[in-house]
């Protein structure tokens, strides 16, 4: 295995290239006069595609044998404040990066229909891509915060300029809602700087692993500040109400990116920062967070069921689906965490595709109300078939991607209940969300596609065009790929998932740190000595003594390893 991925660069590397290609593209676009509209479109598509290719190359060079960060780049940035430009990815961010670049290509592709101020639209999308990629790569807390907030601006512009009728309200609500959440995170980041003297995630986690970062109430407050920022982003009940408005009013590309990527920044934040940095607080808060997740699953589903607006229904379904992600993450076991990450990716594809297809119809009919639709299947059979497949993946039909995430998160939640970490009603109630998903999604399908084909607005429609079909087929391929061979995705994920879990659950001192490269995690999840490893070459190492034996399940008669305080 080559060492491209495992070497720390003291300058810009592959990740920087990937992050800044879209931004450079945006700059070039800005220089091209407005008259050359198709230049803007194709250049934007090209930039996003190159970024996608670069992200695929990171996947290719990425090694699933280690939990340490790979492709690490570190450049002093604002030295007086100790802020570094530090990037790196692990098995969790890898997939979210691929999701981001893939979805951006689809979004830009589909945005070819935008006629009004197409140049600005493309620039906004490219800037947004840079910010989103930055979020998933940043290892410095300030850098992360900058990227995290930077996503708001282009998205705000997308909604406010190209949005629906109620765009002003929706965009301001979106911006301030999420900004309000993350301002507390900034305060917490600064507080940690004073307490620990660093913004570097790796340094902070090293301290946290020994219980030297923050304890008791302070840790709880820091956790809460981070959790609020991420909970708004996810969004968790009850801070979800920005989402229906933003999703519904955003232009199609905006809705796709919001659902597919930006919500995942919340889930990613929990995994990357809350769990490793505030382990005791996480364990303490886990039942509460799972409770909120369960409420979100049920509540989001019920809200989705009563919507009369097609797009709004899909938006509320996100609240329900993201509940599964949070449920899995806070189950704090291998099944749940893996399921949470998979569900993040799967939701990105499925709901992204739903928004894409709703957008296709909206472009033709300019109505999103169910009462204007009936019998669309007769009118547009190909569209109906593709929509059916995507809808079923969202319902969570086994052999499609949605099932894998729901199955693993629910299994993880059930395991947590069985082992006594959370009350048993939580996984049982969460399971009801799967029944409700069938209720609102099938009802949606019935109202639009079934019944007599007698609505004037539909009668004049033709089936979707080949290039539109192609964009959905790409997503359909993924639906079955992830549904039938999820092992492909989990292979490069498991070491990192194990690391997060160990960093959270193991007692102080036993936790694996990202700083200590003499240890690693083997194929069974045990923490072992990493022998015969060049300090930089993380991907290949010889396994030494087992330091901490792993068991993914609490064995019968065994007490919970970490006492809940």
């Amino acid at each position: 295995m080559n060492t491209l991925a495992q070497t720390t660069t003291q300058g810009m590397g592959l990740l920087s290239l990937m992050i800044f290609i879209p931004l450079i593209g945006a700059g070039v676009l800005a220089l091209i006069p407005r008259e050359y509209a198709s230049w803007h479109r194709y250049l934007a598509l090209l930039c996003s595609f190159v970024a996608f290719l670069v992200s695929v190359s990171t996947w290719y060079f990425f090694s699933g044998n280690t939990y340490h960060f790979q492709f690490v780049e570190s450049i002093p940035w604002i030295q007086s404040l100790g802020i570094t430009y530090k990037l790196g990815i692990d098995g969790i961010s890898l997939w979210l990066i691929l999701l981001t670049t893939f979805i951006t290509v689809i979004s830009i592709w589909f945005s070819f229909y935008v006629k009004e101020r197409a140049k600005d639209f493309m620039i906004a999308l490219l800037v947004l891509e840079t910010a989103m990629l930055g979020v998933f790569c940043a290892l410095d807390l300030i850098l992360f915060y900058v990227f995290f907030e930077a996503t708001l601006v282009p998205m705000y512009i997308l909604i406010a300029v190209w949005g629906g009728k109620n765009r002003q309200y929706a965009s301001v609500k979106f911006f301030l809602y999420t900004f309000l959440g993350s301002i507390f995170m900034l305060v917490a980041i600064i507080a940690m700087r004073f307490m620990a003297g660093s913004f570097d995630l790796i340094v902070l986690q090293d301290l946290a692993s020994r219980g030297e970062l923050a304890v008791d109430n302070v840790q709880m407050w820091l956790f809460a500040a981070f959790a609020l920022a991420f909970a708004v982003k996810v969004p968790m009940f009850p801070v979800h109400t920005w989402l229906p408005d933003a999703h519904t009013e955003a232009p199609t590309a905006g809705s796709i990116i919001l659902a597919a990527v930006m919500l995942k920044m919340g889930a990613y934040g929990f995994l990357r920062f809350c769990l490793p940095l505030f382990p005791e607080a996480t364990i303490q808060a886990a039942p509460f967070m799972m409770g909120l997740a369960v409420v979100g699953i049920i509540y989001g589903a019920i809200m989705a069921a009563v919507q009369t607006d097609w797009k709004r229904l899909v938006a509320y379904s996100s609240v329900s689906h993201l509940g599964f992600v949070m449920l899995g993450i806070f189950a704090l076991n291998h099944n749940g965490l893996t399921g949470g990450v998979l569900q993040s990716i799967n939701h990105g594809i499925s709901t992204g595709a739903l928004f894409l297809m709703v957008g296709m119809i909206y472009e033709r009919t300019h109505t999103r109300l169910f009462k204007d639709y009936s019998g669309l299947k007769r009118q547009m059979p190909m569209f109906a078939m593709l929509f059916l497949i995507i809808m079923l993946s969202s319902v969570g039909l086994p052999s499609m991607n949605g099932f894998i995430g729901e199955f693993l998160t629910l299994l993880g939640a059930f395991q947590a209940g069985f082992e006594g970490a959370v009350p048993m009603w939580m996984p049982i109630a969460a399971g009801a969300g799967v029944v409700l998903a069938a209720v609102y999604l099938l009802w949606m399908f019935q109202r639009v596609f079934y019944g007599p084909n007698d609505k004037p607005v539909i009668k004049r429609l033709r089936d979707i065009k080949p290039w539109e079909q192609a964009s959905v087929w790409l997503l359909v391929v993924f639906v079955f790929w992830a549904g039938l061979y999820p092992t492909f995705f989990t292979q490069k994920m498991e070491a990192s998932i194990n690391a997060v879990r160990h960093q959270t659950l193991l007692p102080q001192g036993e936790r694996p740190t990202w700083a200590d490269k003499s240890i690693d995690i083997n194929g069974n999840g045990d923490i072992v000595e990493a022998l015969e490893r060049d300090s930089e070459d993380l991907g290949t190492w010889t396994q030494g003594r087992v330091l901490v034996q792993n068991n993914h399940y609490l064995q019968k008669g065994e007490a919970r390893a970490v006492a809940v305080r």
């Binding site: 309000l180 809200m303 039909l397 799967v434 099938l442 019944g451 993914h552 399940y553 019968k556």
Partner: protein, 733 residues
């Protein structure tokens, strides 16, 4: 079975995988080329080609199934298991679920039913659906159904079973809503999927519980991580579950049973099955009678070890089965729609199967699955032929005297009728009598286990149900084929009448076919056919075409002698002291015999009692036949439409109550909570209210007009300062 597990075969693609992949290939073929072929060769020839391509994969899969049976039958009975693994599905450190198929007598029994009867019904459907404008779509769904159903029965782990489990539910949904332009059909499809999902929820929880329990018993599993694979969990079930004890013992079987209740249409989740009759009749025969609805019985039999460990779970299965049997039988007695009679009859017969499983006679339950597949598929297809001949009218009150016109259909259905009534030597007798006998015989054992209801009570209810079954089937049979009068001739001429209450159900039709074809009263009618005229005084029913009557004849033969051949005359031969080979029982010796329950002490009955039981069950069938033959031999009696019958026909009000409680009240509650919480409390009060409050307070101190954005920023600042000051306070302490 070395040839099944041969690792040198390319990617494990061997015979058993072919069984699964053939229908899947058929599905892909129909989906990809259906429309193209129809267009290229014209509807007539194109559909002939497509129909051929739809039947062939299923028929070949049946042949392969037979080959596997001969392979396996040569093995000693405890070596009749082979597992073939292809590739990993979910492979995590914490759980490993490969794509692996299990070939054993139980799965092969189901494979033969699915592919054998499936092929016949496919053949029938090529005739039945010949005039439908969505012909390729129909066979796309039907082939996909077979593929999923085979996955369900062949899968070697619960997760693969679950793929099939939900997959057949999907195909059922698609086929019930096949004529989706009538919104009622689409609603029936939704109902089926959603009610089934409730059952799936239970099954998924059962799966989770099994996975977690076995994963937490590594001392017994020794590093194996396939926590859902049957070859891991079934042999260890007794040890592992025994070690855990407590709630685990009854929770696992009961959760799995919730899944079975949903899929196999048992009370209280049977609600979807009657509505599912909205689908085309071949679908009703294949999915809602012969195969999919028996998946629950299959699941219980497959996991019988878990059930056997809990007397409470067994009792629940038996009682639910028994109650459903009699409950559905009474409802069937109140139906006028020929398909609805058969639908409730199916629910009732499935109840019998669960009753058998509940007392520990799993093999007998599976035997009833088999014979029921013969005669119920036959009855449904026969009903389809009648419906086809009667211009798609399904009301028994418009039939009568059809035996004159449809000799082959009549004769075939006669065999099916005798079979379901439990008249020896027809197939239904052997299985139903065996069930009742086993229930009676297990009385002492379960009484000793402390069941609240003794099996003898269940036996008595079962016997009454047998009378009712014979009664309502005789009613259906006589009103259709006998009773002298040809009642459709009394109908008003459809050319000159107009009944507005039908318009809403057929709006879809008006575009192309302005004629109406409904009459008499509202029934669920099949649409999509454009080649028929309307029922009226001048209507002349005709025998159906060969592609439709040929499957009827084959199934009639199976319904006549199939039971006798498979059971070898058991238990009648026992009474006479003759020993014959009970083929079915011997074949299923390993996979369907109780492994925890003491099979010797479980069913104890003397030969003389056995003889009395057999006579009683024959008498029950005869009584039902004679009673209703007398009642309906002159047509529909004057006192037919009583309040009691109507009440029974409306499912004793149960369906309506559920609708009011969940759909109506639930919907209203949901909307109210949307307005109250999401719109009201969270959005208006908090999200828009806090800035308003800040802005208003701001106004008190400052004259400047505060904008929306600014007031938000104010709120942010106040909050941030509060948090920051608290943190600095805590740190500096």
């Amino acid at each position: 079975m070395p040839e099944l597990m041969d690792p040198s075969m390319p990617a494990g693609l061997n015979l058993v995988w072919m069984i699964l992949l053939l229908p899947l290939a058929g599905f892909l073929f129909q989906a990809a080329f259906g429309r193209i072929i129809e267009r290229a060769f014209g509807p007539a020839l194109g559909r002939r080609i497509l129909g051929f391509m739809a039947v062939i994969p299923i028929a070949v899969a049946f042949v392969i199934g037979c080959i596997l049976v001969t392979h396996i039958a040569n093995q000693p009975s405890d070596a009749r298991v082979a597992i073939s693994t292809w590739f990993d599905w979910i492979n995590l450190q914490s759980i490993h679920i490969p794509f692996e198929l299990r070939v054993d007598p139980l799965s092969l029994t189901m494979v033969l039913i699915i592919t054998g009867i499936g092929a016949l019904i496919h053949l029938y459907a090529t005739g039945y659906m010949a005039a439908d404008k969505d012909y390729p779509r129909f066979f796309t769904y039907l082939n996909l159904f077979i593929a999923f159903m085979l996955m369900l029965v062949l899968g070697n782990n619960l997760a693969l079973v679950f793929i099939g489990w939900e997959g057949v539910g999907l195909c059922s949904y698609l086929l019930i809503g096949f004529w989706y332009e009538d919104i009622e059909n689409a609603k029936a499809a939704n109902k089926a999927f959603i009610v089934n999902r409730i059952g799936d929820w239970g099954m998924a929880l059962g799966m989770f519980l099994i996975a977690v329990v076995f994963a937490s018993s590594q001392n017994l599993l020794g590093g194996e991580t396939r926590y859902l694979s049957f070859d891991v969990i079934l042999p260890l079930a007794q040890q592992v579950v025994g070690e855990w004890g407590g709630a685990v013992v009854w929770a696992i079987p009961l959760l799995l049973f919730i899944g079975a209740v949903g899929k196999s249409a048992q009370f209280p989740l049977y609600l979807w099955l009657p509505d599912a009759m909205a689908g085309p009749t071949p679908v009703s025969a294949l999915i809602h009678a012969a195969t999919m609805v028996t998946a629950g019985v299959y699941l219980v039999t497959r996991c019988h070890v878990f059930f056997e460990m809990s007397a409470f779970a067994m009792g629940t299965v038996a009682v639910i089965g028994c109650f459903t049997a009699i409950f559905a039988a009474t409802i069937a007695w109140g139906q006028y729609d020929i398909k609805k009679v058969l639908a409730y009859s199916t629910v009732s017969q499935l109840g019998f199967m669960f009753l058998a499983c509940g007392v520990g006679a799993f093999s007998t339950g599976m035997f009833h699955v088999t014979t029921h597949a013969f005669f119920k598929a036959l009855l449904f297809l026969g009903a389809g032929a009648v419906i086809y001949a009667m211009a798609h009218n399904q009301d028994l009150r418009n039939y009568g005297g059809l035996r004159k016109y449809m000799k082959i259909t009549y004769f075939s259905m006669l065999m099916g009728w005798l079979a379901i009534c439990g008249i020896p030597i027809w197939a239904g007798f052997w299985s139903k009598d065996d069930i009742l006998g086993k229930v009676f015989a297990s009385n002492d054992y379960w009484h000793a286990q402390g069941w609240a209801i003794n099996p003898v009570v269940l036996w008595a209810i079962g016997l009454v149900t047998a009378v009712l079954t014979a009664a309502y089937m005789t009613r259906m049979f006589w009103l259709t084929f006998f009773s002298g009068e040809e009642r459709w001739r009394n109908l008003p001429d459809p050319q000159h009448t107009h009944r507005p209450h039908h318009v809403h159900a057929h709006t879809a039709h008006h575009d192309e076919d302005p004629d109406e074809h409904g009459f008499f009263l509202e029934t669920v009618e099949e649409e999509g056919h454009h080649d028929h005229h309307d029922l009226g005084p001048t209507h002349e029913p005709r025998e159906v075409k060969p592609s439709m009557w040929f499957p009827l004849v084959v199934l009639a033969a199976l319904s006549t002698v199939g039971g006798l051949i498979l059971s070898g005359g058991y238990p009648v031969t026992e009474v006479f002291g003759v020993h014959t080979t009970n083929l079915f029982k011997e074949w299923n010796a390993v996979s369907a015999q109780p492994s925890v329950l003491p099979s010797k002490e479980l069913f104890q009955v003397s030969h003389s009692t056995e003889a009395v039981l057999i006579l009683l069950s024959i008498a029950a069938g005869l009584a039902g036949i004679l009673w209703n033959r007398a009642r309906y031999k002159k047509g529909v009696p004057k006192n037919e439409d009583t309040k009691l019958r109507r009440f029974a026909g409306s499912q004793w009000g149960y369906d309506n109550a559920m609708y009011q409680a969940f759909v109506n009240a639930g919907g209203k509650l949901s909307e109210a909570s949307y307005k109250l919480f999401d719109k009201g409390i969270i959005d208006t009060l908090l999200v828009n209210g806090v800035p308003w409050l800040v802005a208003s307070t701001g106004k008190l101190f400052r004259k400047t007009q505060s904008g929306y954005a600014r007031s938000y920023a104010m709120a942010i600042l106040i909050g941030a300062l509060a948090i920051a000051s608290y943190i600095f306070y805590s740190v500096s302490r």
